[in-house]
Every structure is written in structure tokens, then in C-alpha cells.
């Protein structure tokens, strides 16, 4: 099955891009990428939380603000989509992710995942963004319910409406199924729930392509969700 691994940590404590420490960290990710190549189905590194844009839907027009959905010290830094038979196999992978060493990795079983990758032609060189779905967990976040099916239909309509702008996306099971993995002094610490001091992604995420931030906001605003945090992707490797 598929697990969404959300990577987080204290940005202020982490190395800044361009420093040797940053390069060492990136080498750690490269090594993980090679070691776990068979299990990694997808993955994105995010630019820092300060570059985020948050879109909130209320009764009136969507409210667009600069900054992340929740101001937490422990910010999301990236994600992987992992293929693993059991939670133990997913934990085995998560413990090797550098973020587990000084931050945390939150594992969420996924309901579904798709990646249109290269098929999303035309805007292949455009900047990419991850749109995380935040908000209060509702009945619609519980799979196999009528509310979930309604939500799913709304997401299908969104995808039809924006077409090539969506490169990939995934839906996750409710927060109660989350598991946090940290490694401290060589010991693996596994705990129930998302990392306590972070805001937890609720429904899932999309990977969007858009020529600029305003276009990305326009696309993300159409996602049927209470709140969206839009984060520019840091293009690494390939």
C-alpha cells in the first residue's frame, strides 16, 4: 500500500541553502533516494515555510494570505510517497530519511495516489507547487462514506476544470491513522498521531504546475477544501 511521508523540522535550526551543511543534508537525501529507490513512488522538497501562501474558503471570496496555514516552529519541508506492504516496512524506510534525525517524519496511509508526470505536457518547464489540504477534519475525510464520495466527486470536477495544471495528487486516511517516526541517538521513536507541534495535513495534496504564483493561487483556490497551503517546490536532482 501507499504511505504519504510528511517531513518536518525546525527550519531555523536546519542548514541554509548554499552552506556545506546543507550539501551534506542533501547528500543524505540522495543516499536515501538510492537506497529506497524501489519503494519511493514520489517525492518533493519544499521551499521554506515563509514562501507559503494560504487560501481559506469561507462564505465570501477565498481569503488569500502570505505565510503557512499555521505558524508553527516545526514546519513541513517535503514529502515522499512510499510503497510498503505494512506500517513496519514504512517505518523502516522513514527511519532512513534525514528529516527523522533532527526533525520528524509523519506517515499517513493513503487512500489513493496518482502521478500524471510527463503526460501533463505543455507546462513542463513551469514552476511547481504542492497544495496541501488543511482544515478541520470532517465526516468527508472518512473514506467509504457518502460524504467522502461527494468530496471525491468535487475533486474530480476540480481536476477536470484545471486539466494539465495538476501533475499529481493523493488522498490520505484520517489523522487518527498517522504515525510519527523520529531517530534520536540511534534509537527509533515511533509514536501514535502526527507530530504534536505541527499543523497536520488533513485530506491530502496536489502537485500543481503554474507559470507563476498568482496562477497557482488561482488554480489552488478551486480545490474543494476548507483551507489550502500552497508551497513552491524546490527542484533538486533531476
Amino acid at each position: 500500500m501507499r504511505y504519504l511521508a510528511l517531513l518536518g523540522g525546525d527550519e531555523a535550526a536546519g542548514p541554509a541553502p548554499g552552506t556545506p551543511e546543507f550539501d551534506t543534508m542533501m547528500e543524505g537525501y540522495m543516499r536515501f533516494g538510492e537506497a529506497a529507490a524501489d519503494a519511493i513512488v514520489g517525492g518533493e522538497a519544499l521551499q521554506e515555510a515563509a514562501t507559503a501562501t494560504t487560501i481559506r474558503h469561507g462564505d465570501a471570496e477565498p481569503l488569500v494570505t502570505a505565510g503557512p496555514y499555521a505558524e508553527t516552529v516545526e514546519a513541513l519541508g517535503g514529502l515522499y510517497v512510499l510503497d510498503a506492504d505494512t506500517l513496519d516496512d514504512a517505518i523502516e524506510l522513514a527511519r532512513q530519511i534525514p528529516a527523522a534525525l533532527d526533525g520528524w517524519v509523519s506517515l499517513r496511509p493513503m487512500v489513493e495516489w496518482f502521478d500524471q508526470g510527463s503526460q501533463a505536457s505543455g507546462t513542463a518547464d513551469a514552476p511547481r507547487y504542492v497544495a496541501f489540504i488543511y482544515g478541520k477534519e470532517t465526516e468527508g475525510d472518512q473514506p467509504d462514506t457518502p460524504a467522502w464520495d461527494e468530496g471525491l466527486a468535487a475533486h474530480r470536477r476540480f481536476m477536470d476544470a484545471v486539466g494539465d495544471a495538476v501533475q499529481a495528487g493523493g488522498a490520505v486516511h484520517p489523522i487518527a491513522t498517522a504515525t510519527t517516526v523520529q531517530v534520536r541517538d540511534g534509537d527509533v521513536i515511533v509514536s501514535d498521531g502526527p507530530f504534536a507541534e505541527s499543523a497536520e495535513v488533513v485530506g491530502g495534496f496536489y502537485v500543481l504546475r503554474a507559470s507563476d504564483r498568482d496562477t497557482a493561487v488561482a488554480v489552488a483556490s478551486q480545490i474543494p477544501a476548507e483551507a489550502i497551503e500552497l508551497r513552491p517546490i524546490m527542484e533538486v536532482g533531476g
Binding site: 500500500m1 506492504d85 505494512t86 506500517l87 513496519d88 517505518i91 506517515l107 496511509p109 486516511h173 487518527a176 491513522t177 504515525t179 534509537d187 527509533v188 521513536i189 515511533v190 509514536s191 501514535d192 498521531g193
Partner: protein, 401 residues
Amino acid sequence: MLATLARQLGDLDAAEDAVQEAYVEAMRTWPRRGVPDNPGAWITTTARNRAVDRVRRESRREAKEKAAITNPEPGGPPDPPDPPIDAADPEPADDQLRLIFTCCHPALAPPAQVALTLRLVCGLQTVEIARAFLQPEATVAQRLVRAKAKIRTAAIPFRVPPAHLLPERLPPVLACIYLVFSEGYAATAGDELVRRELCDEGIRLGRLVVELMPDEPEARGLLALMLLQDCRRDARVSPGGDLVLLEDQDRSRWDYDRVAEGTAELERALRRLRPGPYQLQAAIAGLHATAASWADTDWPQIAALYAELARVAPSPVVELNRAVAVAFTEGPAMGLEVVDAVADDPRLARTHLLPATRADLLRRLGRQNEAADAYRAALALARTGPERSFLQRRLDEVAST
């Protein structure tokens, strides 16, 4: 039987439902046809048949659904062959061990681990678990539902973890078993029968883990610890329901079969030369259990063991216990120094243990006014009835001198 069914079906809920159905069937048919010769075996066989029926129904439905899509002709493919029915009856112990490791997976919160273990491994009803932990039944029920949903949805495996994972996976299992035992042992409030059952279940689970993992000294140390505590069970509450301190207990009422077994288990554990917190605590309990009287207790050895325990598993509560041992070795004044060193620890702020220990040492030093103040502070924090009445008695004693 639940563990075996769960393994065969790969689904806890289905196994639980099947067992439930078997009991309903028993209640329906036994009054008419009489109780079978072997009721346990009857339930197991019935539950298994029910489960198999269910699997067959489900797969038939799936096949029909599939057929409806791929095969427009009515009838569809033939039913799948029956799953084999295992005739062997008693539930293999290794299935129960798998179930414990699943219930105590670190991806589940500790309260959920304990509730799941009691429900699925020990077979306690939700209402009994709620009563044992003084929690609303709805809270426990909700916790069980969520935990089972997580096992299923997040694919927590139904297995004993491989050897390289045991160092991190065995401790939560042992902690859960000890919590089951302590919940029955420590508090004297609540339903006495349920509490007795919790102690017995804790020891039974401890034996099970030792039997299947004989090379784990801490598992054996935990079993020894539970046996060496349980031996005092009947002597620690007076006929009137009052708490009787170890110092004042009638040692002839201790269960010396438990003492002998616990001591033997501890010796076997220590022979592996890999001491740990459970073995150290068992060694301390063993010294108490084999002392002829409170005065004859080997206090220097107990103080040394507490010092070692504080080193491998630091905790302010261990320091308080060490303070008592130090008081009997080097005098109450030295014990008081140990207590005062941890007096500001925030982890002790909400328990009566700190002022109660201080009060006792002050009383032994003859500082009655200070002792009375400390007893009052302890009374303000103590929660269970027997603890409160004990502290009140002591307060009355020191206040009247």
C-alpha cells in the same frame, strides 16, 4: 481463540464478530440441547465456522460484483473452494504472542495498547476495562474502535517483530503487561474481582512471553517482579479495606509459592548477565519478600539496587524509594537529603508521594510539627480512599504528640 481466528482471517473485527456470534449461538442452543461436553471447544469451532461462512459470503459477493462487471451472463463463476478448517483446538501460544505485539505496536498510544490487549488478548469486556481504569465505557469503546481502525488502515502487521526490531518493540509489550498487572495491584478502589483478574492476566501474559521468548532476561525479570509483588496481595489490605504498609504486614499471609517461583525466575534472568529495570525492581521486591521482618530487611542492598535503578532508568519516584532505603541504612536524616534533592522535580508536583515520604521521614526524626504539615500536603494530593485514610491516621498520630 480470537488470536488464531484473527491470524487466519487477517481481520480483528471479523474474528471478534465470529466469536461474538458463537456466544450468541451458545446462549440460544445450550438451554435447549444442553451444555456440550467441552464448551470451550464448542465455542471455538462454532466461531471458526461462522468466520469461514462469513469469508465465503464476502468472497462470493466480491465474485458476484466482479462478475457483474466482466461477465454479463447470469450465474457468474463458481464459488471459491472452502478455506481449510483447522481441527486442532487450543489456540497456539504464538498466535497470542503475535496478537500482543500487534496490540502493543508503538504506532498505537499506550492507553490504546492496554485497552486492546485487555479486550483482544485477555478477552475482557469493554465495560470491565472501563471499570478497571475508572473511565467512561464510551471512552474505552471509542479508543478500541479507533485503535482497531488504525491497525487495519495503516496496515500494522500481525506478527512477532524480527529479532533486529525486538529491542525497540519488546519494551512497550512489557510495559503494557506491567500496566495491566499494576492497575489490578496498585489501586484498592473499584471492583475487587476485576482487579484480581487484571493481576492474574498480567502474570499469565508475562508467563506467555517468557515461554516464547526464553532468552529475553527483561521479560523474565518482569514475570519475577509481578510474582514477587503479587505474593503480598492479600496482606496489603486489612479486613476493613485499609491499606497496610509493607512495614506492618502479617508476613505469614504472604504467598510463598509465588515467592519461590518469582525468586527462581529472577535467578534465571540474572544468569544472562543483561540486567535491566525489571530485573532490578524484581531483585528489590525479592529482598523484601524473603526478609523475615521489616527490621531484618537487607536495606543496604536495597539502597544499592535503587541507586543502580536510578542510573539505568532515572526517575524521581525511584529516588523517593531510594530515600526510604537510605533512611533505614544511614538514618532518616540522610534519607531526607535524598528526598529534598528531588523536591522541586515537576514530575512529582501532582502526586502525594513526595510529601508522604517526607512526612514519614520527619516523623521518624521526631520533627512532629513539620511531619504534620507534610501529611496535610500529602492528603491534599492523595486520591484513593485507602491512601487518604492511612495519611489521616498518621496525621492524627503526629498531631496528638
